[in-house]
Symmetry: C2
Subunit: 738 residues, 2 copies
Amino acid sequence: MIKQALIGILCGAVALTVGILIGHYGITKSNGSWAKDVAKDVDESLVEKFLSEVDSSHIRENLRELTKVPHMATTAGDEQTVQLMLKRWQDPDAGLDQAWREEYLVYLSFPDPKKPNKVTVVSPADAVLYTAREKEKVYTPDQDDAEVVQPYAAYSPAGQPKGKLVYANQGKPSDYKLLSETVDLRGTIAITRYGGAGRADKAINAAPYGVSGVLVYTDPLDINDGLMSDASETYPHSWYMPPSGVERGSFNTHYGDMLTPYLAAKEETYRIPAESITGIPPIPIQPIGFEDAYKLICELGGRAAPDAWRGGFNCTYNFGGPGFKSTSAFNESDVKLAIFNTEVVKNSSNVMGVIRGSVEPDRYVIYGNHRDSWVHGAIDPSSGTSVMLELTRVLGRMVKQGTWRPRRSIIFGSWGAEEFGLIGSAEYTEQYFTKLSERTVAYINVDIAVFANATLRASGMPSLQNVIFKATKQVDAPGLGATSVYDNWIRYANRTSSAHGPIPRVGYLTGAGSDYAAFVHYLGIASMDISYTYDRSKTNARIYPAYHTAYDTFDYASKFIDPGFISHQAIARTAGNVLIRLADSLVLPLNCSDYAESLEDYLNTAVPLYQSKLQAQGISMEPLKRAVASFRSAATHLDQVIRSSDLANETPLKVRRINDQLMLLDRAFLDPLAFPDKYAYRHVIWASSSAGKPTFPGLADAFANAELTVGSWARVHYHLSVLSQAIEGAAHTLADVI
Amino acid sequence: MIKQALIGILCGAVALTVGILIGHYGITKSNGSWAKDVAKDVDESLVEKFLSEVDSSHIRENLRELTKVPHMATTAGDEQTVQLMLKRWQDPDAGLDQAWREEYLVYLSFPDPKKPNKVTVVSPADAVLYTAREKEKVYTPDQDDAEVVQPYAAYSPAGQPKGKLVYANQGKPSDYKLLSETVDLRGTIAITRYGGAGRADKAINAAPYGVSGVLVYTDPLDINDGLMSDASETYPHSWYMPPSGVERGSFNTHYGDMLTPYLAAKEETYRIPAESITGIPPIPIQPIGFEDAYKLICELGGRAAPDAWRGGFNCTYNFGGPGFKSTSAFNESDVKLAIFNTEVVKNSSNVMGVIRGSVEPDRYVIYGNHRDSWVHGAIDPSSGTSVMLELTRVLGRMVKQGTWRPRRSIIFGSWGAEEFGLIGSAEYTEQYFTKLSERTVAYINVDIAVFANATLRASGMPSLQNVIFKATKQVDAPGLGATSVYDNWIRYANRTSSAHGPIPRVGYLTGAGSDYAAFVHYLGIASMDISYTYDRSKTNARIYPAYHTAYDTFDYASKFIDPGFISHQAIARTAGNVLIRLADSLVLPLNCSDYAESLEDYLNTAVPLYQSKLQAQGISMEPLKRAVASFRSAATHLDQVIRSSDLANETPLKVRRINDQLMLLDRAFLDPLAFPDKYAYRHVIWASSSAGKPTFPGLADAFANAELTVGSWARVHYHLSVLSQAIEGAAHTLADVI
């Protein structure tokens, strides 16, 4: 009986234990169905699966399809790419939850196909002595496509100015100033080279001197490492720009639709009168190839230009004429521009695609690139679009297979009319301003995915540095076997961080070079932009040489930019890896201490530059120093809270609270009144600056201005207060929530 | 053995069952500790406990202590109230988690105690024929306190203008215009009565006509239902203003510290030059009592003023003189103002107190009132402060006892320097702009808690209407037995709602009458303001008659405004009830469909007023109609989601998502560029308006202006686009999050 009793007790004990185990683990409590989901973190095996499935041959085929025809914004070719994106993303097998188009009626500028712009040299008797090319030379059938737009300067006014030619270097204010010291510029035509100043600025800076028209070309020194011969040295023999290649572009200084500032450009939206637009050329301007520029510049009279003004031509870039030298066949002749551009309001589309988040659908990671090109745009932007389509293919398939759904929602944006001034992305942020401000975790921009095959190039908010590093360590560098993108990158661009030691250098997004601008400057969203790029020690090219020409084709890309598409693949893997981490991490991979380091770097630059002169004006930098110190201290504290918390097992509202602090950090740096003269620049840390100092942009600009302008120290003091308050405000958001 | 086996099986089964039960219910899962908390809703028994503990005698004693001495901003008396608040809130037994002071250096204006402002009648030979009172008559020791500030107009410039007196009614633009048709106003002194125009505007409107100084007084018709005798009719015999009573006030049109627009007024903050301040009187202005005004006005020459201009004096308010009538002893005499106000930057404090939230500490319900008065300020503002102290006593005790901790954090603000232009609250919102924008659920303002004993008066965002109704149904109306505040209120102020039928009328917070202004207009936070007030059918008083005089004392309040303090108690119960519901509700009690109804009301007012004239200008109202319809549809949908969800049992991130949509709704209506001429007004629905139409303020003002000004229809179109985009943007935030 004792034995039986013991067995009974034992059985009972076993049954009790089994019961407890079943009760505890086997039966889902009312909250059990979601408790596991809300605590989930990034699944590293899923990241590996993603990396292995990204396929260079798919990217190649995407690019081939996207670049069949020229697809300049709002043209039939653009509509073909809209349809392609919609077809891919709306395919029920694609795995995206939704895809649609968003249309805006935007202000664009085109040449007249029936009356092409002309640049000629005309004799005093009005005989045409020379005519610049109207089209680029045909090397492949691509250049022969009827839809290749004539090279032109979008937003240049129409007009037919005529005058003596002068060479004005890069068209910077200092260039015209120097030139004007010896030449009366009234009524002249200035020829300038790309670089040094914004496109529109070359004309804006010229107008006050009475210049009546401007030409712009790409000097072989700046793009081709000096090479000029299309018989052997340039495309189709290499990646270099052929002599007839012309960089097209948008000649404006603000971004977004210019008729509807701060308003989404819908049909009935109020539009300002076109005469009220600022930041566009007040006088006609036209780009030409260096073949023509050579003919004009090397015939100029006057004395030799300073060395810094000279490019790659075998002549002295004379200045001082004005006009051609007496020994020239063009002697006494004028240069005449006949520009027939017209402005039109046209329908431009964004194509949007969404993968809905499972746990936090109200948190967005946005990934975007523009779709429109100037001509075929194989590199700009279709390299990026090919990568985006490959990402949506691989991610969508995981969703479709049921193996994955991101914690947060992912929004893909294929922006329209970027080339005319980042219009599609800017209108999108205007239309959905509040919603996007409140919910967007980060924006990833991949425009030109590959400039060249040497190394990664990344720019973004410092808070994103860490997740970029993590991703790049997991991706193989193209063509280097087992070397990671990270290990390769650090050899090309690095710095020593006070916290991390030697690390790759991540740039800052201080300008409006691509569609990240509205996300960074208008919305204050943590953003990044990546690409693969060249070895600066091997070339001085400003950018890849076919940029905005009719040579930026699939042929060019696949032969000279990325044969095998392995750099495209590396970018897709890197960007996708970052995307998955932003979408899936339990704690957002946004590091506020790295942000603090950047603010300290800026402060450490600013103090020696400005402090003593400000003190002499009775202006203290102490509030700024205190603000940066507050930020550092709050960031350290928040990091400590994150490290010391067991967030997977605490209330999901705690990790949400921390994630909100991280997500919204950049919003604190916005001040709609900080930069009254800069359209849609609100971020006091990353706004563009003309002072050229690696520090707080508004402070640097106000200081530079105060040194030039009597009575403007008050503006420096004002901006210091704006800046200090913003940084203190950001620190408050990182501190304990109450 | 079979039996034993059966017993064994039975025991085993029991043990298994017990085990399962223990396992399921007895052992807390890792998330069990928080799962219950996150699903908790308002505890109605706790609300009842709160209501029963609010005690009128505590409120009375709070008021007695707060009103011992005058406590004008930044004076020693103000510091005493700071110390009182800190003592109460920092007391370890009080139950608040934290309390502290926040200091700002703010721009104020005071009379010179050594050189009091004077108003005299002087003969052509410069003999003083009459001198207006410099102090109010003493009826109780309170008026005899040395710290009673002389009546003055804060921000009136110093100066000693002298001239013929004219009566200018309320000092509206139309008043000066009418007067100027028959009188040359250059060099005159205008006497005006309070009402009809803002304080500063009475001088701002006068200056263009060459008026050199302005007097302002309170007419017995406007405040005392015509009664004038202090021997029997006015205080201390009734609540009416004694003949020598003078309404002090701040004579400025913008709110917040005027030297630091959009910046918190800290020591090193940039300050604009005082000369750059706008919205303050350009010429001296001084308030006087009706006793003196009577002596001056009834001696005036010229013809009788129109009926609408006349007040309660037994004379014809002559206008047309200028100057006194020939039969007057003052004939040929001038009126002279000698104003010695000085402006100073002084340290003003907010006192802040916090009860930390248990589940969502990063969500704030803010409750506030100013602390500073003009003199003893028993009603304005100490009635509200007495109520706030009673709330913190009762709520703090529940925290201290461990019976309660709010789900969300509660922040109490005792604002400084409100009387000078809502300065303390405005600086607070500037300093913590981002943090407060991101996290604040609602702001409750109780300034003057009790004007009189008849009925509740409430204003606020329509989204708060429902929770105000709920709370008022649970509170007994003062002196009416079992009648609720709600049932009493609906008899005095009601409307018929399309959704709810007859309901009490909740007003809108369209101006800057108290500290809610920065929360509504600058931050876009759902806000409300409540008080107990009078029966409009029984008195025409503009406001309670001792307002801003030396008679606003404990004696006055306890005898004539709220004997027994039962209306104070009703306000404390109502405001506290709303506060608890905002802090504790699982789903925020913010109703977006009620907001939709208000937008529809505004639209239905706007269409018949504006549509046909706008159509004639080629401007369509369709985008606005579509936006309001989108908002309605999104609101209906969100309400449906809330109703159909079992939020207590779903992931806490779902209710958080919905609550974020509700909390952030008003943020979507902000546009920092919508009202370039109105300082810190960004809310496109509730901004102040001068057009006097119950509809969208910017549209109404732009339309009114377009009818007067050639070429300004574009501004109407522009504002329509701003407004439509904001409402569409708000609708996007209410729609499905992806």
